[in-house]
Point group: C2
């Protein structure tokens, strides 16, 4: 009794060759654009000290929540604030097991990278004035332990980030939106099928502050509730800001933040005010007309949005591509300034025939406090991310996947005695640049071999039996053409004549190359 | 007091853009060859149930040893052998927290993939006769918790595997050696700078069995000791097979396996017999001349080596590329037949001027029991792996790394007022396919900007101040050429004349393109 049958860990999945091809497409096309804007690739490990990652997830009240973390098997020295190992009375280095965590995004580890370098500079006495510029892109898996897993969602998924650390100018935020847009279009999305929604955390923070909510934690809690707007609707948001609510589906009691009616109304009215899509100029005018515009932070936020609007307009990114959306807050705890999200506008039909959307495929924003939280040094930073797997899902569901990739040419194994000939033939084809597989399966029936070739999308099958070997020829079956003709050519002999050819072994590589073109 | 300064988890590292470029080179060149032999890419997750991975590591007496494993935060149902959820007296599903582990290689997860598919076939009543063929390649990080970490070794490192499951013919093993050889040469290694060493576990197993050691666990333990030969020398191997030894450096007592002198001598004599490099034909003749040749398993092993030798010779892979090495066993617990390892013969000088070698850069072999151990169904399987990071290290240490990659063109930021012009200029260059970065750093001094450009290997710097903007021109500095000329052109004005150019903004993209060629 094993207690466990062979299976993937719940919430994890294998990635087939077709899915990999799609990931590769997205990554290579986005890499092109990221490099075009001057970013270079820099990778961080899968594991980090849990303390380095902080607790910035939506709905995360503790590091453990949402994060795969565990006790590091190895003990590490404890350091004091000067970076010195702490020692006990007998001068032994104090050790403890820190917690390590699988990264839940690519941004928090980047803050660690930068803080680590700053710390080294600090120990060398080099920190003075403003900090250095660092730009990098990175892609790979991130891990979230979401207790309730929606169908089609996974606990390991790929993101592709680019970030600029050490830049305070919000021009970089405008540029981030343009990079995301160019990356999506390079991948194949058409303009008008996606929408960049831009806001500024300073505006929402300023609004809350203006109305008397100044506690940082409460601020973050309010953001997380507003972030659920698309999911739960405005009435439920109002309830969660106030006294809480009972979930209709599960019957669970969801506690509220306990804001009084006045504050709840202020936030809800603000959201309602900007529900209707409007031009960027009109949204800015409306933001300026609010009483909260007295608040310095709010005002700063509006000015930054105005600057971003100007740059986008200047470079040809109009309202078809990017709008201002003051009700959008993004759930992550670390944003401090401009934030942006890209929504796909394309619809697909689900298995019940209902029109659906994939939703958000990219996101990003400014996080000036992330390094500060680790190290106490203020470092401006901003970046954005493509949800690689979410985008792959969108491309698949809306039928925008590239054509199926050709498999190799397959050499059918008829006779073990002929194996040396099969191997020589395969090597000749490979030397000519042709992907070629010898069928090595234990199931030897021709039917098995052909069904394997079919499943693996093999382009041609090369058949050499005893007779062919004696004559120095091979029978070559064009499987790809065969599939295409199957619909139109119904006469079996005609089909065979078109699809099957006898070719001399001497010219095989040359002829196969022609057939593959 | 944080107790932890910003740092990487011990044994983990960040990967710079140069290191990434090297990884990308290795992966793309090996991918070409793997595809040429008909493999397609299939990925498994980072996490697996610890029970699925088994305990096959060298020196691993338990799953925990050498593996990052932890209790899954989520409870899972317990299954019976029919794949049904087990229930208690009140019909509630029995749940438990399984242990999960970060994969320590890419082979054990593959066995899970195949076993999972077989299990589904079993539940549908489809398993009959021989099993299906499955071929895939995969690359990515694997994780080993080695308590003692040698310098330059890491706990997260990349491997690149290809495997054939469902093929019993050892022709596949010969092919595996050829694939590794072609991959290394496609990456840039010259023939003669590496050596494939081939052996067969059946020969060593047969030898042990012939001498009366038939216990499976003891067999594995003996293999692990022999595997240390290169590291600890033949005398220490003899001691560890017998009564144990005291480590010279650490003074630690290393327990022995407790074999009697007769058995220890048999094994040691066997190893000594094959210490000298010899032709494949001679090695086979010598293997046949041993008394253990009476043993069926031993005999089978020799016959398989003979078959592999014939195929290699037939396809032009002579003794310069591949030898037989009966003393090589490989430490992993799951091998059952032919095994192979590739050693780099290239030397480099370490910091103390000593000649050194990187050692083993690839390895592989047949593991017919891996799926059987999970599921009880015998499935033949074989594969091999390139140690991506080890190979990258070799290329770096022996000076075979490709030239440094060009960074982007950089637009120097002189004047914030001119930012819209900088942005338009950058967009024009990008539209022409030129990687272009605007310097967004907070440190604005020209010295800072130029040192940033230098550090990031920028090719050209584009300087537009107020005067230039008024004239509609840019000063373009060819940084790459500047570096090249610095050694030969000592006159500052001459150097400047060659390196610096004033170009009209209208023709900028065109001219920059020319300068980059």
């Amino acid at each position: 009794m094993r207690g466990i049958v062979p299976q993937k860990v719940k919430g994890f999945r294998d990635i087939t060759s077709t899915q990999n091809a799609l990931r590769e497409l997205i990554i290579s096309k986005a890499t092109e654009v990221y490099r075009r804007f001057g970013f270079s690739r820099f990778d961080t490990p899968i594991l980090e000290y849990a303390e380095s990652l902080g607790k910035y997830l939506p709905d995360a009240d503790s590091v453990a929540q949402g994060v795969y973390s565990f006790k590091n098997p190895e003990q590490e020295p404890i350091f004091d604030t000067n970076g010195k190992e702490m020692r006990d009375a007998e001068n032994r280095v104090l050790m403890e097991n820190h917690y390590v965590a699988m990264r839940y995004d690519l941004t928090a580890p980047l803050a660690r990278v930068y803080a680590e370098s700053l710390w080294q500079q600090h120990l060398r006495g080099e920190i003075q004035g403003k900090t250095n510029l660092f730009r990098r892109f990175q892609y790979g898996p991130v891990f979230r332990f979401e207790a309730k897993l929606d169908p089609g969602r996974f606990r390991e998924f790929w993101q592709m980030d680019f970030d600029t650390v050490g830049a305070e100018d919000v021009s970089t935020d405008a540029e981030n939106c343009i990079i995301l847009s160019q990356a999506l279009e390079n991948i194949g999305l058409k303009r008008g099928t996606y929408l960049i929604k831009i806001n500024n955390r300073k505006i929402v923070n300023g609004l809350l502050s203006y109305s008397g909510i100044t506690d940082k934690e409460q601020e973050t809690a309010v953001m997380r509730v507003i972030d659920k707007l698309d999911k739960i609707g405005i009435q439920a948001v109002a309830q969660e800001l106030g006294k809480g609510r009972v979930d209709e589906v599960s019957g669970a009691q969801i506690p509220g933040l306990g804001l009084d009616t006045e504050h709840v109304d202020l936030i809800i009215n603000y959201i309602k005010d900007f529900e209707q899509r409007d031009t960027r100029k009109n949204v800015i005018a409306k933001l300026k007309s609010k009483p909260a515009f007295e608040n310095e932070t709010y005002k700063e936020g509006v000015a930054e949005l105005e600057k971003i609007d100007t740059i986008l307009a200047d470079l040809g990114y109009n309202e078809e591509v990017a709008i201002l959306d003051p009700g959008m807050v993004r759930g992550l705890g670390y944003y401090t300034g401009p934030i942006y999200e890209i929504e796909s506008l394309q619809t697909y039909k689900d298995e019940k025939g209902r029109e659906r959307r994939v939703g958000s495929i990219c996101g990003g924003g400014r996080y000036d406090g992330l390094v500060e939280n680790l190290l106490g040094v203020k470092v401006p930073a901003t970046g954005a991310s493509i949800g690689v797997d979410r985008l792959a899902e969108l491309l698949t569901l809306t039928g925008q996947v590239p054509e199926q990739i050709d498999g190799p040419v397959i050499i059918i194994v008829f006779d073990d005695e002929l194996m040396p000939l099969y191997q020589k033939t395969a090597m000749q084809l490979r030397a000519a640049g042709i992907n070629t597989e010898i069928y090595y399966g234990a199931k030897r029936g021709l039917k098995h071999q052909m069904s394997y070739a079919d499943k693996n999308n093999c382009t041609l099958a090369i058949i050499i039996g005893g007779d062919e070997a004696a004559k120095g020829v091979a029978t070559v079956k064009n499987l790809k053409l065969g599939k295409q003709l199957a619909a139109t050519v119904t006469d079996k002999n005609e089909w065979k004549a078109k699809v099957q050819k006898e070719i001399s072994l001497e010219n095989l590589a040359e002829e196969v190359k022609k057939m593959l073109q």
